[in-house]
Amino acid sequence: MKTVLIAILLWSGGARAESALFVGPIFGETSYSTSSGGTNRDSQSSYGGEGLYVWNNWMGGLSYSEYSVAPTGNSTFNVGQDDKDIEAEIKYRFLMGPLSPFIGLGAGTLIQTVKTSLFEANESDQGDFFIKEVGGGVLWKFMSNFGVSATAEYYQYSNVTGFKYYITLGFFPVF
């Protein structure tokens, strides 16, 4: 086991001091518990962006993602939803080489817009929630300035829980 760990460390570049930005768009899937209760879930495609400051084993920054839930119901009465999620994140990576697993947590605001349509009338209302999440993933720096991270997170706001799976296509700008 020790040999394997040493091999990974050597392959990943070993421990060396690092300080950089990692920014880029994110694409993924967000699942959420439905009003039916139990384990019923739906999911939607989500997109946004992420910016992290990388300092040795630590990464911290902001992420933004959004998704829409198409109106459900029928043409007479339906309700749709737009969700925008902005969070502060902190992540800890176990290795500082090109391939680095990490865990992290985040907290922020989910802004939810509900659009209700009843016969000819339409209403739009907005509410916000404190959202928090925990997860982990892998960061792969495959060129000197580019990398990809794959992240899976469990989140909760109000009485809604769900999972986010997303990929960040990032680059490390050189200053």
Partner: protein, 393 residues
Amino acid sequence: MKSVFQIFLMSFWALFCALGCSSTFEPGAGGTYKVRIPISDRAGHYHLETVTLTSVTNLSSLSGSVVNLRVNGQTQEHLQSNGMKQVWITNMGTVPTAHFIKSGDVYIPADHETSVMTTLVYQFEQIKSFYDKYNGNSGLSFPRTALLNMRRVISDGTNREARNNVEYVAGLDFFVIQPYDQDLMPIPTNGGILAHEWWHSAFEAKRKFYAETRENALGNTQTNRLICRNYYQYSGLNEGIADYFGYAYSGHTFFGADSLNSAYISNRDLSDPKSLTDEGADTDEAGVCKAKDEGYSLGAGIGHFLYVLSEDWGIDEATKAAFNFLNMYMRLYNTDVDKTFIGLKRILPLFFENHPPSAALCEKIQKLTSIPEAYSGFCLKLSDSKPLEGKNK
């Protein structure tokens, strides 16, 4: 580094656990919740309105003192050889987790399902209050149970699923609402339909109180022609008065059409004239009790009859008469179900025990039936003259 990592993990757990799963739906003044849901006015026009839920103690599950909900279960229906349906629940479904956003002090349902469920709870609160005015909830246990979006699989070889209907299942004391796929207002948002079903539960409570012992003693004796005919009258009255209560609560004579375009509601606009008849069910040669239409034609006649009363007396008085009728009818049914035919001649006078009809009302009633004996007694008493005769078409 190890200690930094430990602090990181502890912070994370503190964040998740401390802020974790506490409810974010705080009630307003008096423990009530303001919600914005689709409501119908008395002309049958729907609009979004902010109303107050007074019975709900947990907004997430929408549970409270009036009704508890479960969603997405399944029932199985089997048609027995004697024509009776046997229904059993194979999956009770789950307790809902309603989603809301808060705008000011008003909770806005965040999805269609939540909006439908919330409207159902509000309508049940209002219907309970409506029935309370007439002491019409006696014998009912609270909270009531409503099973929404219940799949109804019919075991007839096809395993087809029934849709777009609601029923009160007396044996279980549940309201069961099937999945809805029409392009109108969903059934749980239709106060008239819900008040109709609520009547069935009130009717059942009275049956249990007055007639259950008697029915049990009689056993399954619908092969008896008299009991068969009386049972048909009983079913027809149940349906007809239920339609009237849908109207009395909603103010809309054709409330069913807000949600359903099925053929079986096509003749159920209470303002459309319907005739009152004693014809309907009978035993066939094999002794099987056959109802033409499970009581709907008599029901439609009774529903229109009560509508006519409400036009003359007002909804409040007609509703009182309906409840007064229910108590007297159940006693009569208990004593006479296997002795004499409980037809219109014995049914109609019960509506006028406390409120004799005017001559004008008698004329209207006369037009509804070709059975003079059905009204000659109480109309004679009023005018102290000859009873009105014949059918005025």
